[in-house]
Amino acid sequence: MSTLTLCFRLNGAEVTREIPTSAVLAELLREEFGCTGVKLACSRAVCGACTVLLDGVPVAACATFAFRAEGAEVTTIEGVAEEDPVRRAFAEHSAFQCGYCTPGMILLAKALLARNPAPTREEIAAWMSSGLCRCTGYQMILEAVEIAARAGASA
């Protein structure tokens, strides 16, 4: 088969699409569902700009075949509530500049806090090293994750 029918939950809603087997998740989310918050930069699973959560697990949407989302819950930045403590911490602490890495960084941080609600600074730095930010020098991002953790982001 070179096409297939894909059903999954996108930001809480059931969706179905006929897709080519070779469709990449980022392409599907951006072009079919308008989730342009899924940013493409390196296109080889290194930089993290395209990070989305697949059943809560952070994955590089640029390097994940779309068919792998079958039956899964996919969370993109569009599915993060405005009141989400991680999103708020990034916004209020100015832990962003150009904003291109920001959706991926927020989702990456959410995945960390879901597993480790009170991480140390070293644990945050190690985890967030999965995302490349060329603008900030990272320190304000790490601080935002700490602020979010204190605000109870894992809840």
Partner: protein, 275 residues
């Protein structure tokens, strides 16, 4: 899609050629597809990159529904790691942490948070990229790779191309309780070094070191037999690195430096492992 220079010029951010997808549920079925030329897709964190680099594929065998590929077990004095075990599962596995804590610790540090949850050790090994660390870790450990067709291959001898049409099922490490393992990656990406010592019945220690760079497949260096690794560390490291090929160098790291820094790192690792 094309290669320009040593680097890559993938023409598109995501446009990939269509392929036929197989979704086997058993090892036998998956193995048949791979033998027939389908590319095995395990965690799926590397194949898109390979395709963007120019890998031509017509068929893909998705291993995500194949039963029995994942998991770690210890039986008959042999540690068995399923090829479909993700990095996160492997690093956290209680049996592995008890049997070979040095490997669990090293395994937990490779790749990124994104890759650790979905990337598998089988995919890491079979991707055939020098910078993927599985081959250094398991090659240094003297692990044996077992394929679905019943053949085996020492991990240190793995070469991506030759094994492409075989389905890796598990990785076997004999006598893990007698192994001491340590992995040094502070000098990454210029150099990484793994050390494995085996405690023999009479208390002597034998073993080897593995050294790799981002661009060079690992070199495995035998160590002389040791009784007191801390005291003998300098001499053992010197002996090991005497065997490093003179052409083991890449454009970012010269042979003399790899030799000197590798020696120092190995001597320290020997002292640390003895402690």
């Amino acid at each position: 899609m094309m290669r320009v220079a040593g680097g890559l010029v993938a023409a598109s951010q995501y446009a990939l050629p269509p392929f036929v997808l197989h979704r086997p549920t058993t090892v036998e079925e998956a193995s048949r597809h791979v033998a027939a030329g389908a590319v095995a897709l395990a965690g799926g964190t590397d194949l898109v990159a390979q395709i963007r680099e120019g890998l031509a594929i017509r068929e893909v065998a998705d291993l995500s529904q194949v039963r029995g590929l994942a998991g770690v077990s210890l039986a008959g004095g042999t540690l068995r790691i399923g090829a479909g075990t993700t990095h996160a599962e492997g690093a956290a596995d209680p049996a592995l942490r008890a049997a070979l804590p040095g490997l669990a610790e090293a395994w937990g540090r490779i790749a990124t948070a994104r890759v650790r949850f979905t990337g598998t050790i089988g995919g890491n090994l079979m991707a055939g990229r020098p910078r993927y660390e599985g081959r250094l870790l398991f090659g240094t450990l003297g692990a044996l790779l077992r394929f679905a067709d019943g053949t085996t291959l020492p991990a240190e001898r793995l070469a991506g191309e030759a094994s492409r049409h075989r389905l890796l099922t598990d990785i076997l490490i004999a006598g893990p309780e007698r192994l001491l393992f340590r992995y040094e990656r502070a000098l990454r990406p210029m150099m990484t070094l793994a050390l494995c010592l085996r405690r023999e019945a009479d208390g002597r220690l034998s073993g080897r070191a593995g050294i790799a760079t981002e661009r060079l497949a690992p070199a495995f260096l035998p160590l002389p037999e040791l009784r007191a690794p801390a005291a003998e560390a300098e001499a053992a490291a010197a002996a090991a690195f005497a065997a490093l090929p003179r052409d083991f160098a890449d454009p970012m790291s010269g042979n003399a430096w790899l030799r000197a820094a590798g020696h120092a790192t190995l001597a320290r690792a020997l002292k640390a492992i003895a402690a």
